[in-house]
């Protein structure tokens, strides 16, 4: 869906994007993570066609996004700082979106508005709370039935109930229409429930880009206890991280969980448990394996 090749961008002498390579498969929910200043919002603005790269190209469905109105019709974008016309109501913005996007579904718009009972369609949007303003943005964006939904820090400011509601609607779009979703965040915990692809951005380039399955199948956390000292780890298993407390050792191993369990079981430990790994933990240890300064990347 999105192919970014060798994109670079600098602002006032600062290199914001540095030969960035990124690929978002069609139908994926892609989480773009990175610390503040990594370049998340910058690359997103390139993807939606607002910025132009100094070099490289950005293809959406095989077409260059630059000044391409037909491709933009398929993209719904919710930025971190949302813009509405002064004194515009939700209905005003609905009419505006309807005029710009041929695929805008007015019936669907009213349908999902019912999911947000606090939303007053005739009141100026600027009088709403931050969370409600975001709700309006989601309602408008989803009513377009976009092929690509681009979200920059999307649920920031929403209460947990509303977050669930929003993600539920997005998942519905993904399931029903195969919508591709690109969501940027600096919070891995938030994304791990929804994303199936992850890309980590640091200093303007992608340092890691994997599907979640691939990630989860490539790192395993086991807790083992032996009678004596910890024996040598079997070949084929790389220890990314190890912590020993008395007889109990917690190991982060590079490799598939089943294979790691079988190999560790062959050592006849007193205790062997395969523990769930959070996305955050996976990346911390994966980054250590990649010899990155983790403290420079994670949060």
């Amino acid at each position: 869906m999105i192919q970014i090749d060798n994109v670079s961008k600098s602002f006032h002498g600062t290199q914001a994007l540095d030969h960035l390579q990124m690929h978002v498969p069609k139908g994926a929910i892609y989480g773009l993570v990175g610390p503040n200043g990594a370049g998340k919002s910058t690359i997103i603005r390139h993807i939606v066609g607002a910025y132009r790269p100094d070099e490289g190209e950005i293809l959406i469905d095989g077409e260059n996004i630059r000044e391409n109105a037909s491709i933009k019709e398929k993209i719904a974008y919710i930025p971190d700082e949302i813009f509405y016309f002064a004194q515009a109501t939700t209905l005003d913005m609905m009419h505006y979106y309807k005029g710009l996007y041929p695929s805008f579904d007015e019936q669907y718009f009213y349908k999902i508005c019912k999911c947000f009972p606090m939303l007053n369609l005739k009141k100026p949007i600027r009088s709403f709370s931050k969370g409600t303003i975001k709700q309006v943005a989601f309602v408008l964006a989803l009513s377009i039935h976009p092929a690509l939904l681009v979200l920059d820090e999307p649920v920031d400011g929403l209460d947990p109930v509303m977050r669930r509601q929003i993600w539920s609607l997005i998942m519905g779009e993904v399931a029903d229409r195969g919508t591709t979703v690109l969501v940027s965040s600096h919070n891995l915990r938030e994304l791990e429930d929804v994303c199936d692809h992850i890309g980590i951005l640091s200093h303007g380039h992608i340092i890691l880009e994997r599907s979640l399955d691939n990630l989860q199948s490539s790192v395993t956390k086991v807790q083992v206890a032996f009678d004596g000292d910890l024996p040598p780890i079997p070949e084929g298993l790389q220890v990314l991280h190890s912590v020993t407390n008395g007889r109990v050792s917690t190991l982060i191993l590079k490799g598939q969980p089943r294979e790691a369990q079988e190999k560790m079981a062959a050592l006849h430990p007193l205790l062997l448990d395969v523990l769930p790994l959070s996305l955050e933990e996976i990346f911390i240890y994966e980054m250590e394996g990649e010899h990155y300064e983790v403290k420079n990347i994670l949060f």
Binding site: F11, R52, E67, E81, F83, F85, P102
Partner: protein
Amino acid sequence: MKSKTSFFNKTIYKKNLTRFVAFPLLYFAFLFISMSCNMLVNRLNMQKSPDAYIQTLKTHQDLYEGVMNRNVPIFVAIYMILVTLAVFSYLYQRRSCNMMHAFPVNRKIMFSTGIASILTLTLLPQLAVTLINTILYLVFGAGSLVWIPWYWMLCMIAYDLCFLGIALFTAMISGQLITNFIFYWIFNFMFMAAEVVIRVLLSFLCFGVYSSDIYRNKLLCMTPSAYLPHHTGIYINDATYRIYHILPEALPTLLVYALVGIGLAGLAYLLYQHKALETCGDFIAVPFMKPVFTLGMTFFASLLATVGIGYALTNLLSENETVFFISIMILCLGIGVILYFIIQMLIDRTRHVWKRRYMKYCCIYTGVIFAFLLCVRFDVFGIERQVPTASDVFEVDMTMGETTYALTDADEIADFISIHKEIINEKEELLDYSRHCSEPYGFLDISYHLKDGSSLSRSYRLPDYAGKSEAYQNTCQKLLSLFNDKDAILTHGISKNYAELQAEDVTFYPFDAPDDGSEEKTYTNAQLQNLYEAFVQDIKEGNYKITDLDASAPCYSDSFALVLRSPEPILLDRTKYSFYYTGRSSLSLFTNYVSVTGALSPVSKMAVAEETKEAVAANGDMTAHLYIHPTPDCTHTLQAMIDMGMITNTDDLTLSTAGEVYMFTDE
């Protein structure tokens, strides 16, 4: 729904019209009240005065003025920048800028739809008022003049396109709303302002150039707000108010400025296509404009500041030109360096501008302005030596004291030009008197009116020639010979028909007279005529000097004013140009119509010259006023004064010198 037309988006267009509907409503209200209502109320009031009403019906001057009083480009300029700022306001805030460009419209459509919106918001109120005014003209019986409101509308269209182009151009250059507004006015007035500042600076540094010359803007055409009123108006005959002509250059001028506006809009479109949106919020959004703006503004601002401080120093450092020049130079360079870094801070939004790169540019600026000032000081540009050739001159007006002669004869002009060149050659001797002169001096003001319609002016302080170089004394003698020539005094100083004039009144101003008017006397017509004829006789015998540069020359402090009546209107030599050089400032932005002004093009000047001459001939002044300081040589005049009882004898008069009576001194 997206429009099928590739240059237009109906949704954005409608949104612009609804969001900014207040602009055309307010503009319409302004035009309606100031034009239509004004005309209606004036006409209704006028009907209460039958005589005035009948007179008005003959010319409909009130209706003409009611429309053309609003043929003022500056109002359009103000409105256009406000509307453009509103429609393109999304470019100046990051969130709106990113969002608008993420919508499924490309920049071409956004730009052209924006223009369509602006023109709709501007033309609709203008058109509505034009229709209303047309109805008023018809209702009030001015059907033959109904073309005037539509000519006004045509002017508005041209002004709209012109100022829209400028507004769009500055909109694409700047990254902030407020800087767009500032840049817009800079672009509108920078040529005129720069010319004024440079002329004032030249008046400080150049021999013979004075600040009174600052209103001869040669670059006025680069300032549409000031140029257009003078060149797109409707000429009316001041004397009769019956003739309405569109100025010959009006339609071409409107077309040119409209095309310039369209061209600037095209340039703005190219800038928009390449505009990097991350420059939103920057002082200047286009990289190549940064050094241009920095150096240009620094140059101009430092000259402006120098001029301001220079005025204050003029009196303090007036006695030595070298010291004055060095002071000006130091001021200009110092202020310039400071301003350069201040402007750089504004552009880069940081105080840390002490970098090698900026230092390099600062040195370049300093070098340029240093060289500029030196070139001006040593007349490398030939400003001081600029004197037209006689064949190019239509008329030269030379003024000393209160006397102005207009020379139109080719030989006289050539003679005068050679005298002018001699004065220039004596610069070294005269320079130190330019700013301060502790001895008596006279002013020589020169205005050359060239055949191409342009003019050149100079002014010199000429000190008392006693004790000066032989060359200077010779020059003064030649100049005084011109002014004090018998025929010149009679025909230029009095009138061509001096022999036909009848004296009808005189007022004597004795030097030591009481202020209570107790010495006022009345005289018979015969006595008055005798006095005048005696004065003429003195002129013919070469006894009278209208001006002098010999401060020690004897002269009476007493004077008298003669009122002379002519049997027909007095036509001065300067008729053709005197009405065009009225001293009216071409900086006026609120000219609403043209009768005759100093800023008319040569085409218009010649076109109205004959008509005005006839009007003046029909309605010109029938009297001349002479103010005479007799000298001891004016024997006939003095005798006539005694004969009529104005004085008992010459002892009643106070003998003084020319230096006291009609020369100046700065002490």
